[in-house]
């Protein structure tokens, strides 16, 4: 086991890849962990492929090097597969989590990835619960289940803290529900 858990999140501008990376590390920080989160800065346009990164560790994290060999990759938008190399730097011990309604075997085929592949229909969850395609929170639910070192509880608290003032109680509850559904339904 490496000292630092390294995560890469692929999405499109506006889908919340950066926000997801920040939420996950902030939840980890609340558990007393050391964290770093940073997005890839380029031309920031809605819909353009973007990536965000996170590091989580029990020890201080000194490095500022780019993450080239992530342990876990999250793909928020599966239409990126095929023209963005989403498995780049992932070893066979790595984990790929994709937002899709398809089976993980299909994703294995599409990505030709030899490691563990998990899927969750985050888009469907968010449309049903929030009436909008906001899959990033459900994806975090899936990530928490698979990564198994950040508590779902601290992520729930983080979402409450971030959203309650902004979107009100009802929508916050729905957002938390989408997190739990992502956690429960990843396979």
């Amino acid at each position: 086991m490496k000292d630092i858990l390294e995560i890469r999140i692929h999405g499109r501008g506006g889908q919340g890849a950066k926000t997801a990376s920040q939420f996950i590390v902030e939840a980890a920080l609340d558990q007393g962990k050391y964290i770093k989160a940073f997005p890839e800065y380029g031309p920031e346009r809605r819909g353009a492929p973007v990536a965000a990164f996170a590091r989580i560790s029990d020890k201080p994290i000194h490095t500022y090097a780019p993450i080239t060999n992530p342990d876990i990759v999250l793909v928020i938008d599966n239409t990126l597969i095929g023209f963005v190399d989403v498995t780049k730097g992932l070893t066979n011990k790595g984990i790929l989590i994709v937002n899709t309604c398809e089976e993980s075997s299909k994703m294995k085929e599409k990505t030709k990835f030899k490691g563990n592949v998990y899927t969750v229909d985050a888009t469907n969850i968010s449309i049903k619960l929030l009436g909008k395609n906001l899959p990033n929170i459900s994806m975090l639910g899936a990530l928490v289940k698979i990564a198994n070192n950040i508590s779902l509880e601290s992520l729930k608290n983080k979402i409450k803290e971030k959203f309650l003032k902004k979107i009100g109680e009802e929508k916050t509850e729905k957002t938390i529900e989408s997190l739990i559904k992502g956690y429960d339904e990843v396979r």
């Binding site: 964290i35 940073f38 994290i61 000194h62 490095t63 080239t68």
Partner: protein
């Protein structure tokens, strides 16, 4: 109790400014500094500070407003990057020439042309001879603490010089990380009430700022400025020690990381020091004697202390994130100068890396260390990460 927060480097600086509660902050947005001014503007709007924030129309005006405010007797701060610092240039020298204790955060970014928003040190290195104290920061925590230290250093009566606090654009300025935010009351006490030195608005004791001294007095005034910079050496340590009592961290001219028995050492500024530490930890486990010298205080430069720190090292690589086009790169030049009086000194390798934000990986640093350990040192500049 201090509080651990998830903050970016920019937010950490804004947090320091909130605790300092300066009288005047004139600022103009520029990437990647903008988040400092933006976050601080929110503190102003929310009434967390009683700062007069001036939204100026350019950086030249930002520094001009700092100069006016500071001469009048106000505690003034600002922040900028790259082209913003370049546009400020004329007034940057005015601030130090008038001996005004302004504190400015510079979030390092490459200079145009070609235009680029990412990190290198050409902006702050470009004004290393403008008589500003320069402090470089590895991470958000240091940027936060250096900003607090800078206020006291600038305002010390034996110094009275402006201070620039640097951090790496995007790499730390936009990276969310653990920051220990110290107690408001402790920082407030550390900073103290501002008692300006000979302010313009003290109408009972009228003074002149910015007269016209020609051949008769200009030289003498510059000599005083040289002395002030010299004084800053010791006072930096004194104030650092005082801050240590609150933070339990050290503020020496530089940080030596596992250099005691090191055969090969890397000398570098800002965030790359962090990456180097990660590589050192790994290589040390394999028994390789490698270390880091991270320069914190670049102006005034601690020549004697650097010489002492490096005298027993066999090989050292100096990594510059800017060049001096046609001369030795800024950091390399100072390190080499430091070693002149030694009879036994390390062999030096100058490396230029990361211009315009080009990534430097742990593998790049490991390879460099391996070369140094083999005694593979050349008098030619090594360009790390360059495609050629």
């Amino acid at each position: 109790m201090p509080e651990i927060k998830a903050l970016t480097g920019d937010q950490a600086v804004a947090e320091a400014m909130k605790q300092i509660n300066p009288d005047v902050v004139p600022a103009y947005p520029i990437t990647p500094q903008t988040e400092i001014a933006m976050t601080f503007a929110k503190f102003v709007a929310d009434g967390d500070v009683d700062t007069e924030m001036i939204r100026v129309e350019s950086e030249h005006s930002a520094m001009s407003a700092c100069v006016g405010a500071s001469a009048a007797g106000a505690r003034a701060m600002t922040a900028t990057s790259s082209a913003g610092l370049a546009l400020m240039w004329e007034i940057v020298g005015v601030a130090s020439g008038l001996r005004l204790p302004i504190v400015m955060n510079v979030v390092n970014r490459a200079l145009s042309a070609p235009i680029n928003i990412h990190c290198d040190h050409s902006d702050s290195m470009g004004c290393r001879d403008l008589s500003w104290i320069q402090i470089y920061s590895e991470d958000a925590q240091e940027a936060y603490e250096h900003t607090i230290l800078a206020v006291r250093l600038a305002e010390n009566k034996k110094v009275l010089l402006p201070v620039m606090v640097m951090q790496d654009g995007f790499i730390t300025s936009h990276s969310l990380e653990n920051v220990e935010v110290l107690e408001d009351s402790k920082i407030k006490k550390f900073i103290g009430e501002y008692k300006p030195h000979k302010p313009l608005l003290d109408i009972k004791n009228p003074v002149t700022y910015g007269p016209l001294p020609l051949q008769n007095a200009y030289f003498e005034m510059k000599r005083q400025q040289i002395d002030a910079m010299e004084n800053a050496h010791k006072i930096f340590l004194d104030i650092g020690e005082e801050l240590s009592k609150i933070t339990k961290r050290k503020y020496y001219y530089f940080e030596e990381y596992k250099t005691k028995d090191a055969k090969a050492v890397i000398v570098v500024l800002n965030s790359t020091a962090g990456t180097t530490k990660a590589v050192i930890d790994r290589m040390r486990q394999e028994g390789k004697k490698v270390g880091l010298l991270k320069i914190r205080l670049f102006r005034p430069f601690p020549y004697k202390e650097v010489a002492n720190a490096l005298k027993d090292i066999k090989f050292a690589a100096v990594l510059d994130r800017s060049d001096s086009f046609g001369a030795n790169a800024p950091l390399y030049s100072e390190i080499k100068n430091s070693l002149y009086d030694l009879t036994k000194r390390p062999k030096l390798q100058n490396c230029i890396f990361g211009l315009g934000g080009r990534d430097i990986s742990e593998d790049d640093i490991e390879k460099l260390f391996s070369d140094l350990l083999k005694g593979n040192v050349s008098d030619k500049v090594k360009f790390i990460g360059l495609n050629e």
